[in-house]
């Protein structure tokens, strides 16, 4: 400690403090000397003269202190002293300190962790330069927002306003030829200026240039794992989809396109004048630099739209271009989930604060004699309050430090868990803002925790307490009331978190045991990427699949094979708008939209989707034949509630006299394609052979043997058929179903952890308060027992008090719990926020916890030996 003293001394002399102190010393000494001299001259003996002089002066230390008080910088000194004193005090009571720090650490840590997620996901700008200038452009048509086409992109790029710049991308899967065989790689096609637009500079090499033709830029990860990882990779070539591309650059690590977490290669695409208006698949990003006014830009967009409509007069013209800030697109609905999490950890924090407040109250009664002494020595009330608050603030800051440590430790796990339901988790880290937040929460908690005990001290009568132990009395009962209120509050908050977690768990359970409408055991699913040469030709495609089906059926254990453009529960490729004959929406009405997939005839049988009416696809449903369509029950119920859907007609896309009719030939059972939680949607299936041949189909295989043995055999068959066709996204249907509930699992796990923490903290709180209560009332209890009251009655009495508090808290907390539950509504499956069973269940759990927590002190109460208790003073 000596070095601290040396430093503060140096600091003070720097401020001239020591010199001032010395001078004051001299001044006072001179004053007293003069007084002594005066007394001696008046004839008093020297000793008596000195004594009288000192008496007349009063307390020298007091005078010095008050002079220091008046010099204004006192508060810093006071603060430093208080902090030192506080730390010493905390060290002397390790049990109290540990309990308080653990409570605060957990509460602050949880809040810090969630805030770091809020910071990374919601607050931080996207990882592109000047990211708030970036917007995504879309086509707004009725209530449908969709991507753009080549035609749109070209017209937008030609826009008069030169300061806005556009670039486009679309995701794709690419077949990269490697020594070991073809590999399917996720990537994107990008227009030449994309990296300029986003402000990304390559780590190695360069961006696309005006003269590049067949060029590709690779991601950092791809460079490290699949290529050499050295600069020699430049100008080497990569065979993609059968063509040779030259590698011109490597991107820095951590880069990705908006909402795309995996993208290994970026292929250069130059957009040429298209032969027609569609298809619509491009995601177009626009950068609007500072100077541009949004209103003017919208005008420009309007005129471009007019131009496009003029160039392609066929089709509707009731659409327009719209822009949305890129961050909003990326973040989506994540904010709602985060606020709910934040509310839950907030509850946990307040429970922790209530606990520590109770601890301080208990400790406070023991310190009242110390406070009384200080007050008698001249300390003002404000000074003492400042002292107590500094102490609790120190506790808060220490708790915050522990909390940051806990948040850091748990950060990894939290990151992995949250990634399943939140975007941008890679931007989450413990940066300065998060640390500031932790400090602020620590100080806030510290002050709140200290205010209540500080206010509960009976300042007016404090001097009377010098020498007493401070039990009982009016102030004691005031503190007792505060303690009880705090316990009630803790239980109310604990109920809130417990209810939220309970609802999520039950929702998850229901999701996991729901009848999904298709088989999920014994089915393997994978995707194939057929290269355009030769599979662009429908005959080649059909031949391939016919042969594949035959060969796969020949693999031992395989019983059925089917393919489609999507698989349940959530691997949907496309939605489409359509119109049912006789239910055309008027000129202003919106068209219905539903999941839309192309399937072959054996798809339904392989997945076990039952046929309810009519038939599924036949051989006869192929190009040139009348369009056949199969719908699911939800579709039939929606559009034809009172009659059969079979035989009805509809059209795909916009209502257009020239488009072909599709006839509904059958109705199948419901199966989810948008995730289990979204429930059943109207779904339309078209025959694969009548809908163009999408070359990246999902293949499903029903098997009786182990997946591990069957998959390599399937792979062998495919390679034997055509070695250039990679098999990817291999998994079993069980895995897919499990993955689709992973978000629900993670979220309910998080809430459950919080609920357990909340309940444990609340239980600790009530245990502490009831224990203290029992201790305080030992004499009363002893008297009761001496008068013949049975132990059981004593136990019962104490339990009743404790339970009363808990139950009151539970009842009071129901309102708040309901509010949080309501917020969860969109995350719940098949269960509502007012589910009575869950309420009752959680109330029972909490009550039982309270019972358990009060057991120990109440049993101890009954064991109080009346004789010793009564003898105590």
């Amino acid at each position: 400690m000596r070095w601290i003293r040396r430093i503060t001394h140096r600091f003070r002399s720097l401020l001239g403090r020591t010199k001032a102190a010395q001078e004051l010393d001299e001044e006072i000494r001179y004053h007293i000397e003069l007084d002594v001299k005066k007394n001696i001259d008046a004839g008093i003996a020297p000793d008596e003269a000195r004594r009288q002089a000192l008496l007349r002066f009063g307390s020298i230390e007091n005078a010095k202190e008050e002079v220091r008080d008046e010099s204004g910088v006192r508060w810093i000194e006071d603060l430093v002293n208080d902090v030192r004193f506080a730390l010493r005090g905390l060290r002397k009571t390790p049990v109290f300190t540990a309990a308080a720090l653990i409570s605060l650490g957990i509460g602050i840590g949880a809040n810090t962790a969630i805030f770091s997620v809020v910071n990374g996901v919601l607050l931080q700008p996207l990882a592109y330069s000047e990211a708030d200038e970036l917007f995504i452009t879309y086509i707004a048509w009725r209530d449908f927002n969709g991507p753009l086409s080549d035609a749109d992109f070209l017209r937008l790029s030609e826009m008069q306003d030169n300061s806005a710049s556009f670039a486009a991308y679309n995701l794709d899967d690419f077949t990269v030829a490697r020594q070991e065989g073809p590999e399917m790689v996720r990537g994107a096609w990008v227009t030449p200026t994309m990296f300029d637009l986003l402000g990304i500079s390559p780590l190695v090499g360069r961006r696309f240039s005006a003269t590049d033709e067949y060029a590709v830029v690779v991601s950092h990860g791809f460079w490290q794992t699949r290529l050499s990882g050295t600069a020699e990779v430049l100008d080497r070539s990569l065979e993609v989809n059968g063509d040779v591309y030259s590698i011109v650059g490597v991107l820095p690590p951590g880069f990705h396109l908006p909402r795309i977490t995996e993208s290994d290669i970026y292929m250069l695409r130059r957009v040429d004048e298209p032969p027609r208006r569609g298809p619509f698949y491009l995601r177009v990003i626009v950068r609007l630099p500072e100077g541009i006014e949004p209103a003017r830009f919208h005008e420009h967009l309007g005129s471009v739209a007019t131009r496009t409509k003029g160039l392609y007069p066929a089709g509707t013209d009731e659409w327009s271009y719209g822009i949305l800030p890129l961050k909003e697109l990326v973040v989506g609905n994540a904010d709602r989930t985060l606020y709910l999490l934040f509310a839950a950890v907030g509850c946990v924090l307040f429970i922790a604060i209530a606990n520590v407040t109770n601890l301080l109250l208990a400790r406070g009664s023991a310190r009242r004699s110390e406070l009384a002494l200080r007050s008698a020595l001249g300390a003002k009330r404000s000074r003492l309050v400042r002292h107590m608050l500094t102490e609790s603030a120190v506790l808060g800051v220490l708790g915050a430090t522990l909390g940051v440590g806990l948040a850091w430790l748990g950060g990894e796990i939290l990151g992995v868990a949250a990634a399943s339901f939140l975007p941008r988790m890679d931007a989450v880290r413990l940066d300065n803002r998060v640390l500031m937040f932790a400090l602020a929460v620590g100080l806030f908690s510290g002050i709140v925790v200290g205010v209540v005990p500080a206010l509960s001290v009976p300042w007016k009568r404090i001097n009377q307490d010098l020498g007493t132990t401070g039990r009982g009395g009016a102030a004691g009962s005031r503190r007792g009331a505060i303690r009880r209120v705090l316990v009630i509050a803790e239980f109310a908050l604990a109920l809130t978190v417990l209810l939220a977690s309970g609802l999520l768990i039950r929702s998850l359970r229901r999701m996991q045991s729901a009848d999904l409408g298709f088989e999920h055991e014994g089915i393997i699913a994978f995707r194939l990427s057929l290269p355009s040469d030769p599979y662009e030709s429908p005959e080649e495609f059909d031949t391939f699949f016919a042969t594949l089906e035959q060969r796969l059926m020949g693999v031992p254990g395989v019983s059925r094979v089917g393919y489609a453009t999507a698989v349940p529960p959530d691997r949907l490729g496309m939605t489409n708008n359509y119109t049912v004959e006789g239910q055309e929406p008027g000129p202003r009405g919106a068209q219905p939209v539903s999941p839309w997939l192309a399937a072959n005839q054996s798809y339904f049988g392989t997945l076990g989707i039952p046929i309810m009416q009519g038939r599924t696809f036949h051989e006869t449903d192929r190009d040139g034949e009348p369009g056949a369509v199969v719908v699911n029950e939800a579709f039939a119920r929606f559009h034809f509630p009172d009659e059969t859907a079979v035989g009805k007609r509809m059209k795909s896309g916009a209502w257009d006299a020239t488009r072909p009719w599709l006839t509904i030939v059958g109705v199948v059972g419901d199966a989810p394609y948008l995730g289990i939680r979204r429930g059943d949607h109207r779904t339309v299936y078209v025959a694969y052979r009548q809908s163009g041949r999408w070359r990246v189909p999902w293949v499903v295989v029903r098997h009786e043997r182990d997946a591990e043995t069957v998959i390599p055999q399937i792979r062998g068959e495919i390679v034997a058929l055509d070695a250039r066709v990679p098999m990817h996204d291999i998994s079993t249907m069980e895995q897919l179903v499990r993955e689709s509930t992973s978000a629900g699992r993670s979220l309910s796990s998080l809430f459950s952890v919080l609920a357990v923490v909340a309940v444990v903290l609340a239980a600790t709180g009530i245990y502490g308060v009831i224990s203290y209560h029992v201790n305080m009332r030992r004499r009363e209890i002893a008297i009761r027992q001496a008068l013949g009251s049975a132990s059981v009655a004593v136990v019962g009495h104490v339990l009743k008090e404790g339970l009363g508090l808990a139950v009151f808290g539970i009842v009071l907390g129901s309102g708040g719990a309901y509010m949080l539950a309501r917020g969860l509504r969109s995350l719940l499956y098949d269960i509502g926020p007012t589910d009575v069973t869950t309420y009752v269940g959680t109330a029972l759990i909490l009550t039982a916890t309270a019972l358990l927590a009060c057991m120990v002190p109440s049993v101890r109460a009954s064991r109080v030996d009346p004789v010793t208790a009564l003898r105590e003073e």
Binding site: Y30, R56, S59, A63
Partner: protein, 111 residues
């Protein structure tokens, strides 16, 4: 002593110090003796409380201090009224006078 009385005392003490220094610059002990003379030993405060008051007046800029040698060649800190202090004194004296007139009037009226 309760807090209200302390504040009243502070104000009175400050005024007395200023008044004392109006006559001539003085060191701490001298001011204490002079105040005693003025107030006829009425103010029974420990003389030590003079020093915080002096510090307060220093900080407010109403008085200034400098170290000087006394007659017996000792170092002492002498306090002097600043112009701001002189103005303050005049203002305070006036308000005192006014309130004492009012008090007198009340007393006369009730006698």
């Amino acid at each position: 002593m309760s807090y209200e009385k302390a504040d009243l005392l502070k104000g009175t003490l400050d005024l007395l110090i200023l008044k004392t220094l109006d006559l001539e610059p003085m060191h701490g002990w001298g001011i204490a003796e002079r105040i005693q003379l003025f107030s006829d030993d009425v103010l029974r405060v420990p003389t030590g409380s003079l020093y915080p008051a002096l510090q307060r007046l220093l900080r407010k800029g109403l008085i200034v201090a400098e170290w000087r040698l006394t007659e017996n060649n000792r170092r002492a800190r002498y306090y002097r009224l600043a112009s701001k202090g002189r103005k303050q004194l005049a203002a305070q004296a006036e308000s005192w006078a006014r309130s004492s007139v009012a008090v007198n009037r009340v007393l006369e009226a009730s006698l």
